[in-house]
């Protein structure tokens, strides 16, 4: 079939325009999410203000009093605890894969760790509820209470009844879920380190650990930081895994063994049941704040990881 050149030109223009719009869809969607969430939460913003909302801990659908302090704090504390556990482990795994493991092992371990990210969060949640939480309640938490719980000051963290459905279990599961993200970003960063740098360190007699600690880590600072940011962004928005094992109690956690709530858990549990408009608006308000928070952190993380690539 023959098409005349002018028609071809027209078709080219047509294709350009549709690809252009498809690419701009990303911007539209992000703006759309921002605007819609803002619009939907507007009644709650008007009624409760900003500072009032994020500092108030009451969540009372009957009296129509809503404050986000507890779910916001819960989101931050679970993510923070997960990071504390996950980051050193993820860095260790990245070091293991790039520097320690024999070649045949590298790919298998790398793949296995990536599969950890492929497991859907609902499976983590379900497994957490039926397998991990009972184990935690029966063995791990009583053990921690008996040992670390005796310490002065620090022991307070391990007080309460170990039920397994608590901050501790939720953070542990979250940490397992985000290990692959930090690990893969760190691994990519480690691989960029010029081998000349490492070789010169080995040349003056440094051990492998000293090379990693004094050459690789400082060189990849930004990349590691970026990877941590991306993982934190993930952890902040994680829903199903946490929904199963955190309980949904509107209370500040008093120890690692107490239940609390996160923004995502509140949304998952109450969104479809919110009967009053102001209740729904308050939930949208929480979603809006979560969106702003995770967007900022992800953008920072991404910025850092990009920086190291262009180095």
């Amino acid at each position: 079939m023959k098409i005349s050149p002018s028609k071809e030109h027209l078709f080219n223009l047509f294709f350009l325009i549709i690809t252009f719009f498809a690419a701009f869809l990303i911007i539209f969607l992000l703006f759309g999410i921002f605007l819609i969430l803002f619009k939907e939460s507007f009644p709650a913003m008007q009624r409760f203000g900003f500072l009032n909302f994020i500092l108030s801990s009451s969540w009372d659908p009957v009296k129509e009093l809503f404050g986000g302090a507890i779910p916001l704090f819960g989101t931050l504390i679970t993510s923070f605890l997960a990071l504390i556990v996950a980051v050193p482990i993820a860095l260790g795994i990245a070091v293991f894969i790039t520097e320690v493991a024999p070649k045949a092992f590298k790919e298998i371990i790398g793949m296995a760790i990536e599969l950890l990210a492929a497991i859907p969060s609902i499976i983590y949640g379900m497994w957490g509820l039926f397998t991990l939480a009972p184990l935690q309640a029966k063995y791990v938490e009583p053990f921690l209470q008996k040992t670390l719980g005796k310490l002065p000051l620090l022991g307070k963290l391990f007080s309460g009844t170990p039920l397994g459905i608590d901050l501790f279990t939720a953070s542990l599961i979250l940490s397992i879920m985000i290990i692959p993200f930090t690990a893969s970003v760190a691994r990519d960063a480690f691989q960029i380190v010029p081998s000349v740098l490492k070789e010169s360190a080995y040349g003056i007699g440094a051990t492998k650990w000293e090379v990693i600690k004094d050459v690789v880590f400082p060189y990849c600072k930004l990349g590691i930081l970026g990877g941590i940011g991306l993982s934190l962004g993930r952890a902040l928005g994680e829903t199903m895994a946490v929904a199963f094992v955190l309980g949904n109690l509107n209370q500040f956690p008093t120890s690692l063994f107490s239940a609390t709530a996160t923004v995502t858990v509140k949304l998952a549990n109450e969104f479809t049941e919110a009967e009053k408009d102001i209740h729904l608006a308050a939930l949208f308000y929480l979603a809006f704040l979560l969106f702003l928070m995770s967007f900022t952190i992800l953008a920072l993380g991404k910025y850092f990881t990009e920086r190291i690539k262009t180095k």
């Binding site: 071809e8 078709f11 080219n12 294709f15 350009l16 690809t19 498809a22 690419a23 869809l25 990303i26 911007i27 969607l29 992000l30 759309g32 999410i33 969430l37 939907e40 482990i89 860095l91 260790g92 795994i93 070091v95 371990i109 793949m111 296995a112 760790i113 599969l115 950890l116 492929a118 497991i119 859907p120 969060s121 609902i122 499976i123 983590y124 379900m126 497994w127 039926f130 397992i176 692959p180 690990a183 051990t207 492998k208 650990w209 000293e210 990693i212 600690k213 991306l230 928005g237 829903t239 199903m240 929904a243 949304l267 998952a268 969104f271 939930l283 949208f284 979560l290 995770s294 991404k302």
Partner: protein, 278 residues
């Protein structure tokens, strides 16, 4: 002194091995647990039967399997073409534009935006105005999660095609769209396909955005404009529910989903690896 440094070195490297074992431990713990519970739950009736009324043992997940398939299919039909077209713009027509770099950056962020927020967004746009939950909006929410993933992989895969190949085609007088279709897409086909597979794997396990969009349905439904069951939301409902039989079926559903996703994930990685080796 040297001895001390050597010991420290060994301790540190030993800890690195421990961290790898820690990661593998959880992977196998979860997988073996899902397989163990899943296999006992997996019976023909689980796949072929409609659910029994709450509290009555028996019944199956036919409604959720069919619903999950339809919702994922809707998402794929919407998300894949848009994603590929968007990625094409970033890698081809707009490769030198600043705005392309911004879009690329934003889609990287959007890949990780909380899925539940996408659910809330679609709820406000397509569920509340309609007045009831519907499967189409569930597919839409999943498509929104899919698009940035496919945009990114398409962009990356197209940039791998050497520029000289395009120049050769330009020299023959081919217009750009023909170059894209006949040279670029053909060369990057496996890569794009891999991106699609990984994106499907990514959204198949999503539950949070479906909670507010397609919701759930206790009956087999083929109507995209009505609520529809999905495996993930059913897992959520059944696992939280009080009945022993529900829990068993939730394990069965988990087994099906995990198996499917791991298959896709492994297949995708295998394809990428083969592509880069040749």
């Amino acid at each position: 002194m040297i001895k001390k440094r050597k010991i420290l070195n060994n301790i540190a490297l030993f800890f690195c091995i421990l961290t790898a074992i820690w990661g593998l431990f959880w992977l196998f713990f979860i997988l073996i647990d899902v397989i163990r519970h899943g296999l006992t739950a997996l019976t023909p009736s689980l796949i072929l039967n409609d659910p029994a009324p709450p509290g009555i043992p028996g019944g199956g997940l036919k409604h959720a399997i069919i619903g999950h398939f339809f919702i994922t299919l809707t998402a794929t039909l919407i998300g894949v073409p848009l994603g590929i077209l968007g990625g094409t713009f970033l890698a081809e027509y707009g490769r030198n534009l600043k705005v392309s770099r911004i879009i690329s950056f934003l889609s990287d962020i959007m890949v990780s935006v909380p899925a539940i927020i996408v659910g809330a967004f679609v709820y406000a746009l397509f569920v509340r105005p309609v007045g009831h939950f519907n499967a189409l909006s569930g597919g839409l929410a999943l498509a929104i999660i899919m698009i940035p993933v496919i945009v990114k992989t398409t962009e990356n895969m197209l940039s791998l095609i050497p520029w000289t190949l395009r120049e050769a085609a330009f020299a023959l007088g081919a217009p750009y769209y023909k170059v894209i279709f006949q040279i670029v897409y053909r060369g990057a086909g496996v890569g794009i396909f891999t991106g699609v597979i990984l994106a499907i794997a990514r959204v198949t396990g999503e539950a949070a955005p479906l909670l507010f969009t397609s919701f759930n349905n206790a009956f087999t439904s083929y109507n995209l404009f009505q609520p529809m069951a999905s495996l993930t939301v059913t897992i959520f409902q059944y696992a939280m529910g009080p009945y022993e039989d529900w829990h068993r079926q939730a394990w069965g559903a988990s087994f099906l989903i995990t198996l499917f996703i791991l298959f896709l994930a492994v297949l995708g990685r295998y394809l990428i690896k083969r592509r880069f080796r040749s």
